[in-house]
């Protein structure tokens, strides 16, 4: 499982305050902690409140780069902020994200080529997030086709079927699982699949959030999920993910399989 740590996001209060105060230690502490917890990449999002998103993104990427060279997922909808982040990355970056609108794909895939970045492609477009798996797959296919036209290696593409909070959009979860399963049939080699996991429990009672995330992660891995943006500091969550991959035979069994995974 390719894990992208979600914590460096201006939506979290500690990050928001750190950005305002230009407090490097909080950001660097979160970066180091997530790497220790076996993150394979770190999400970087300036948050919705920032009035100078480009400068903040540059500051965040530089600040993180001082303590780790782990790949970063530049998480923004603004193209100038995206490019500012990509340009400063030391390791192969990830574009988080692009939707299935042709104009977005054309401009962001060009950036992906320029900076040799992987891409997270959302199965949504101008008309929003589809209700069913079929329409999601249609959009996924559009992204795959556009990637091929731009000469992007499909092994660098992660399809995100966009999970919505279960408390308000309950029917979506099973459609997302079907999309993950059927995405593997879109091409050969197939695109990878990814989820922004925490969204599933957004708005649910705090005491159940971790349980909902954990349960959905195991179901998604059962459907063939390759990667997730999640709270990598939640040990039970990561343990459940590792165990799901073990049961799917993605990792070879050994008695200390949890420790073995974390030795990576």
């Amino acid at each position: 499982m390719f894990i992208i740590g979600e914590r460096i996001n201006g939506m979290f209060k500690d990050v928001k305050v750190a950005i305002e105060k230009k407090d490097k230690s909080v950001i660097q502490g979160l970066a180091k902690k997530q790497v220790e917890c076996s993150a394979n990449a770190l999400d970087v999002n300036v948050g919705p409140a920032s009035d100078k998103p480009k400068e903040v993104m540059e500051w965040l990427v530089k600040t993180i780069a001082e303590v780790t060279d782990i790949p970063l997922a530049i998480d923004t909808t603004k193209e100038d902020v995206m490019e500012a982040g990509l340009a400063l990355c030391k390791s192969k970056p990830i574009i988080n994200s692009v939707n299935a609108n042709q104009d977005k794909m054309d401009s962001l895939f060009a950036l992906a080529k320029k900076y040799n970045a992987s891409i997270i492609g959302l199965t949504m477009d101008k008309s929003g997030i589809p209700k069913d798996a079929e329409r999601r797959l249609e959009l996924a296919m559009k992204i795959v086709a556009s990637c091929l036209e731009h000469g992007i290696d499909l092994q660098d593409l992660y399809i995100d079927a966009v999970i919505l909070p279960v408390n308000v959009a309950q029917p979506h979860a099973k459609e997302v699982l079907k999309t993950i399963r059927d995405s593997k049939m879109l091409s050969d080699p197939p695109p990878k699949t990814i989820l922004g996991l925490s969204n599933v429990s957004q708005g649910s009672l705090p005491q159940y959030k971790a349980l909902i995330n954990r349960t959905f992660l195991t179901m998604a891995i059962g459907a063939g999920l390759d990667a997730a943006i999640l709270d990598v500091t939640d040990n039970d969550l990561v343990d459940a993910g590792i165990t799901s991959e073990l049961l799917m035979e993605k990792q070879l069994y050994c008695d200390s399989y949890l420790a073995a995974y974390r030795k990576k």
């Binding site: 290696d153 092994q155 050969d188 080699p189 990792q251 070879l252 069994y253 050994c254 008695d255 200390s256 420790a259 073995a260 030795k263 990576k264």
Partner: protein, 319 residues
């Protein structure tokens, strides 16, 4: 149609055997093995940075169990490990010497650990290639013998063996303190192989000083079991399983020369071919199968088999 080239996310770890003067040893040069970024010899996929190497086996006593067709290649050198090792390097161009301390077995000469360590020192002085050193496979005695030998060879970065699940702690500690590499063995069980590597690494042993041995079967004697488990190990390692991404070793000579096909002389049916060539052919065929399975070190006995295997390695590596 475009060829689909698999892009692996990880690579086989690169292990260095032997240490030069600058590195605290006395070898002429160190040998690098592993480091592959794809399935070996698969054109287009593998960068093949380090070719498989051949270690020739040298015993610390005359190998009485060897048939004449094998012994004849070494004659009197078999009586002296120093001369024997020199012959393997000078005459047969062995990349490494694998010193087997067979005489330390309690049922053999029960040579003392101190004397075994002296033999290691002598061989290290006589030849300048890196050394593989294994005991007599009597586990308890081996612990004692290897502890003395790792100390005697301190700084030379030898490859010592053989650590198994029930007996790895002493060997690991000895290799750690003498800064040597270690052979980790789990016979035909990939799950235990992975577990053993974790246990060894848990003792703060560096993972890039471990070589995996899955047991070796001679051609016709279970080779296919080892072959498929080695393939699986390699694919797991390339897919990112760091506890299975180590290079692999096969004791080809040891297994081939205990088969009846290799040991029997000319008294059998002519269909078997002459005893002079039969064992060497069998050893070469077994070795070639293992380099295709992903072997990085082949421990071999017969000079002709060594020569022919080396030719195959070179041919396979032409891009």
């Amino acid at each position: 149609m475009d060829r689909v080239i698999e892009k692996w996310q990880d690579k086989v770890s690169e292990v260095v055997l032997g240490a030069t003067k600058a590195e605290g040893g006395s070898r002429d040069k160190a040998i690098k093995i592993g480091g592959g970024t794809g399935v070996y010899f698969l054109q287009g996929e593998d960068a093949c940075p380090n070719l498989p190497v051949i270690a020739m086996e040298v015993w610390d006593m005359v190998p009485e169990s060897w048939p004449e067709s094998l012994k004849a290649n070494f004659n009197d050198a078999l009586k002296d490990p120093v001369e024997w090792a020199g012959m393997c390097v000078d005459k047969f161009s062995a990349d490494l010497i694998c010193l087997r301390l067979a005489s330390t077995h309690p049922d053999s000469k029960d040579t003392s650990p101190e004397d075994a360590a002296k033999t290691v020192e002598k061989v290290l002085k006589a030849v300048k290639v890196p050394l593989v050193v294994i005991g007599s496979l009597a586990r308890e005695k081996d612990n004692d013998v290897i502890v003395h030998c790792t100390e005697a060879a301190k700084g030379e970065n030898c490859l010592f063996g053989i650590a198994v699940q029930d007996n790895y702690k002493t060997l690991t500690a000895a290799c750690l303190s003498g800064r040597h590499c270690i052979i980790s063995e789990a016979p035909i069980d990939i799950n235990i192989a992975k577990q053993l590597n974790i246990l060894i690494c848990d003792m703060q042993f560096p993972s890039d000083k471990i070589i995996i041995h899955h047991a070796t079967g001679a051609l016709g004697y279970g080779l296919e079991y080892t072959y498929s488990i080695m393939e699986r190990t390699r694919l797991a390692g390339l897919s990112g399983d760091r506890m299975l991404s180590m290079p692999m070793i096969n004791f080809v000579g040891q297994e081939v020369w205990r088969t009846k096909e290799a040991k029997t002389g000319d008294e059998v049916s002519k269909d078997w071919g002459s005893a002079k060539d039969r064992g060497a052919l069998l050893e070469m065929a077994t070795a070639v199968a293992y380099i295709n399975a992903g072997a990085d070190i082949l421990v071999m006995n017969h000079p002709k088999a060594v020569e022919e295997t080396r030719k195959v390695i070179k041919e396979l590596c032409i891009k």
